[in-house]
């Protein structure tokens, strides 16, 4: 028997294509026959943040070269569609009576050539009546100007309305020797997948066919069918150039595309520009946090309060519910805090709507508690690692429920902390820091520690898979997940090969076509391996049992006597390996009976809770405020590892995005709601120069909630790294009296903090 392939550093099957011809992203589908003769779509977008629309004049645009049609909500008969989370918040897919953020689509232009639309868009005249612009969250809460008058308030989602307890008064901290308060801005970020949004549509025999760059084809199908029941849409997913949560759901531009194609009677292609994407692809984070933490002088935390005000942007999308659904339950972090209370309010503003972005509600929870722990430690003069150790939930291998009411699966936090402290040579770093401080060096060293736990696969607990063996011996794995960089082709092939003995290079993986895979929940929330991978695992086991019964009849033997030799992918009677039937022979035998295939659904025992610890090392130039992120040492426990190569890749990328939030990136509006970072020349997208050196320390604590023992790893690198890096910056200048610097810790902010 060959050894198991699972747990090995298997190179990706996906790579040769990406490296030699490039992927086929939606904009690359030049030879698709159904898109032959496609016209091109350009959206006319609002240039005001908040205004009543009194009229839209498209006459000049209609005369522009190459223009086939110009449509608005009125000409397409679009009706208001309500948010899933607040029925009073409703909008048409193209703005009709009012615009609520700069970049909101108002009209759509169809042209023969791609480059003609932008010229024509300038000729659409929109008669605006400006309204008060609400960019600031607290101003929006207090204002009598309502973005959605029918909702009755700019607070669109409130955790107390969801039945969660409110926060109380000062008595909550009455037994605490020390109480520290903080106001933290978890700033707005642009997700920035390298591939912007794109989609193409064609009507085929009365049905809509839509190709789209998405993380979840089946969800997009349901959205489009809900908006236009007559479309009976088939959604197909080409290669997707990154998503990071921002491509989970379809956007108005994508949902309306089918109706535009119907109106003009042509297939259509749409691809936004990066500058459009910066304004109209959903943003992430954008949470204002008021924290209060109290405890004893010797470092024991007794009570913690988090009041989170979530910016929802100009609509109530999923970003509005992440605060009550993800931030609140994870507010305790890794700590055994006897009393916790948390209230969240999500507020509409005249800014780009907030959606999920890598971590989606959990980085905000972790940042709040970790920053609070640091400020508590600073107040009592205790080391950042020590105060954490003193409050960690002790190792547990049965579910542990925190004071806020969230149950975690398994945890071993102190070991993770010890591992990163050892690997980073923490005490030596502290010595070096003390030396630099004593010398009064211009470049000071900062050391940040975070210990975190997060929730993966929180919203879903099942996934589908189908495995089919073809008469030539090849196998096809159909999955409900939807890879866009994670390496599912390799990972699912490893799992299927492990059980069947069919070589990895004879296994294909198919996803993202709703006619072929009607049931699927896509890829987000770090759910894929623990659910989709587990579904492949379970389905492969059942396929082997089916094959065994077919083999038994072919070999004229009892099923119990038939064994699978996975080293050569053949079944034989135990003891007589010379007489065997192969997968190809079994599939051929079954060809008349619907083939050799199994479809199955895996249902897990619940969400999983990856955890870990990070140490960030930064250098701060005390004269200029410039921060250099020297190193990140990370121990991320995602349970049993299927392929360390893929796991490390996820953590590396996560750490860079965490470092980016802590140090560089912020999406900024002026007070009139005009974006100040609306392209990649202005938005501080992290590059190879700023990204840190990374050292990973392995740790595997399997979860009992799925047969692979796997927890999610797609987001934990971001969740663990962000607070450690921010903390390191504050730590570098803490001897100068600094207690807190909001993210991103730009040179100006650091300089001001030092010189205040």
């Amino acid at each position: 028997m060959a050894g198991s392939i699972l747990g090995n550093r298997v190179l990706r099957k996906e790579d040769p294509k990406f490296l030699t011809t490039g992927g086929v992203y939606v904009d690359d589908m030049q030879s698709e026959p159904l898109l032959h003769g496609a016209a091109h779509v350009t959206f006319v977008r609002s240039q005001l943040a908040h205004a009543i629309i009194n009229g839209i004049d498209v006459s000049a645009a209609l005369e522009a070269p190459g223009v086939i049609a110009v449509h608005t909500a009125a000409t397409l008969n679009l009706l208001p569609e309500a948010s899933s989370y607040n029925p009073g918040v409703a909008r048409t897919l193209l703005a009709s009576d009012r615009v609520r953020y700069v970049g909101e689509p108002v009209a759509v232009i169809v042209t023969e050539q791609a480059n003609q639309g932008e010229d024509a868009a300038d000729l659409v005249v929109i008669d605006y009546e400006p309204l008060e612009v609400l960019v600031d969250l607290e101003q929006a809460m207090a204002s009598t100007t309502l973005l959605y008058p029918a909702a009755g308030s700019n607070v669109a989602v409130d955790s107390t309305v969801w039945g969660m307890p409110d926060v109380t008064g000062d008595d909550f901290f009455s037994d605490c020797d020390v109480v520290v308060k903080g106001r933290f801005v978890n700033q707005r970020l642009a997700p920035c997948p390298l591939e912007v949004r794109g989609s193409a549509v064609a009507w085929v025999d009365g049905r809509l066919y839509q190709w789209i760059s998405t993380q979840h084809a089946q969800g997009v199908r349901d959205q489009i069918n809900k908006s236009d029941a007559s479309s009976n849409v088939r959604v197909m997913t080409p290669d997707v150039g990154g998503g990071f949560g921002a491509k989970i759901s379809a956007y108005p531009e994508e949902i309306v595309l089918g109706r535009v194609a119907q109106a003009v009677g042509r297939p259509l292609r749409w691809r936004e520009t990066r500058s459009e994407s910066m304004l109209s692809l959903g943003h992430g984070r954008a949470q204002l946090q008021y924290v209060t933490i109290g405890g004893t002088r010797d470092g024991k935390v007794l009570a913690y309060r988090l009041e989170a005000i979530q910016d929802s942007g100009a609509f109530v999308d999923v970003g509005a519910v992440l605060a009550p659904a993800c931030t609140r339950p994870m507010s305790s972090g890794v700590y055994a805090i006897p009393r916790i209370e948390c209230r969240t309010k999500s507020v509409v503003t005249n800014t780009t709507p907030i959606v999920a972005y890598r971590g989606a509600g959990r980085p905000e929870a972790t940042a709040a508690i970790e920053r609070a722990m640091d400020m508590f430690a600073a107040e009592i003069g205790m080391d950042a690692a020590e105060v954490r150790r003193k409050n960690l939930i002790p190792r547990f291998m049965e579910p542990h429920t925190t004071a806020i009411g969230q149950a975690y699966d398994v945890g071993d936090y102190e070991v993770a902390l010890d591992k990163v402290l050892d690997a980073s040579k923490y005490s030596e770093l502290r010595t070096e820091q003390a030396t630099r401080r004593q010398r009064g060096d211009r470049h000071q060293l900062g050391i940040g520690v975070s210990v975190y736990v997060e929730i993966t696969s929180g919203g879903t607990n099942h996934e589908d898979a189908r495995i089919e063996v073809l008469p030539d011996g090849r196998a096809i794995v159909y999955t409900g997940t939807s890879p866009h960089g994670q390496g599912h082709v390799t990972a699912w092939s490893m799992i299927a090969s492990e059980h069947t003995g069919i070589p990895m290079d004879k296994i294909d993986v198919v996803w993202g076509d709703t006619d072929i895979i009607p049931d699927g929940l896509g890829t987000y929330g770090s759910r894929s391996l623990q659910l989709g991978g587990a579904a492949v695992h379970q389905t492969a086991q059942k396929l082997v049992e089916l094959a065994r019964s077919v083999a038994a009849s072919m070999l004229e033997a009892a099923e119990a006597d038939v064994v699978l030799d996975t080293s050569r992918g053949a079944f034989h009677v135990a003891g007589t390996p010379a007489v065997a039937v192969t997968w190809a022979e079994l599939a051929t035998r079954r060809a008349a009976e619907g083939g050799l295939a199994i479809s199955d659904r895996f249902t897990s025992g619940g969400a999983t809770f990856p955890f870990g610890a990070h140490v960030a090392v930064v250098e701060v130039d005390t004269e200029t405020g410039k921060v250099t992120h020297l190193k990140q040492v990370a121990c991320d426990d995602a349970g049993t590892v299927l392929n360390p190569l893929l796991l490390e890749g996820q953590i590396h990328g996560g750490i860079a995005q965490g470092s980016a939030q802590a140090l560089l990136e912020e999406f900024v509006y002026d007070e009139d709601g005009n974006p100040k970072t609306g392209n990649l020349a202005e938005y501080a997208f992290i590059s190879a120069v700023e990204a840190p050196r990374i050292e990973l320390v392995p740790m595997e604590t399997p979860t009992p909630r799925n047969p692979l023992g796997a927890k999610g790893v797609g987001e934990s690198g971001t969740i663990g790294s962000t607070p450690a890096v921010q903390s390191a910056v504050v730590d570098a200048v803490s001897h100068l009296g600094v207690r807190h610097i909001d993210m991103p810790t730009t040179p100006e902010r650091v300089w001001r903090a030092i010189n205040q």
Partner: protein
């Protein structure tokens, strides 16, 4: 206007609008879609190709400026079915995830080693500053380039 460009060893002539960028020429006239477009401010480097042996962002020059020139794109790197050492290094070191920045990143990395065959890690990072990646955190990209340099 007519432009004639040798792409991946084949000379092609097309009538193009004077404002056509080289990247649009490559994608829409030569139908080579491996070269990607990631921004509109020449910030991301996804469209990096080689023009007369030098790595350039193909969104920063007009097709007309490349008239008579020689262009190599990601599709032109493989020789007799063998990947270029840089392509192999990216595969062996997991230097790519979603693949979107990859063609430009590989072309930029080859350009970097052409100018500096034995770069330090610092020099690799500086050399790739104009090529953005959202997936890898650059860690394995830097590792890939250093591995290719040491072959």
């Amino acid at each position: 206007m007519k432009v004639s460009i040798t792409i991946n060893g084949t000379t092609q002539s097309h009538d193009v609008e004077p404002r056509t960028l080289l990247v649009h020429y490559i994608r829409e006239h030569a139908h080579l879609t491996g070269t990607n477009i990631g921004c509109d401010t020449s910030s991301c480097g996804a469209c990096t190709v080689h023009l007369d042996g030098e790595a350039v962002k193909s969104c920063t020059i007009l097709a007309a400026q490349a008239d008579g020139g020689t262009v190599t794109t990601i599709e032109g790197l493989t020789k007799n079915g063998e990947m270029h050492p840089m392509q192999k290094a990216f595969m062996e070191n997991h230097g790519l995830q979603c693949g979107y920045c990859t063609p430009g990143m590989v072309m930029a990395a080859i350009g970097l080693l052409n100018e500096n065959p034995k770069p330090s890690e610092e020099e690799v990072r500086l050399g790739l500053e104009g090529n953005l990646c959202r997936c890898t955190g650059y860690h394995n990209i830097v590792k890939s380039v250093l591995a290719a340099a040491n072959k």
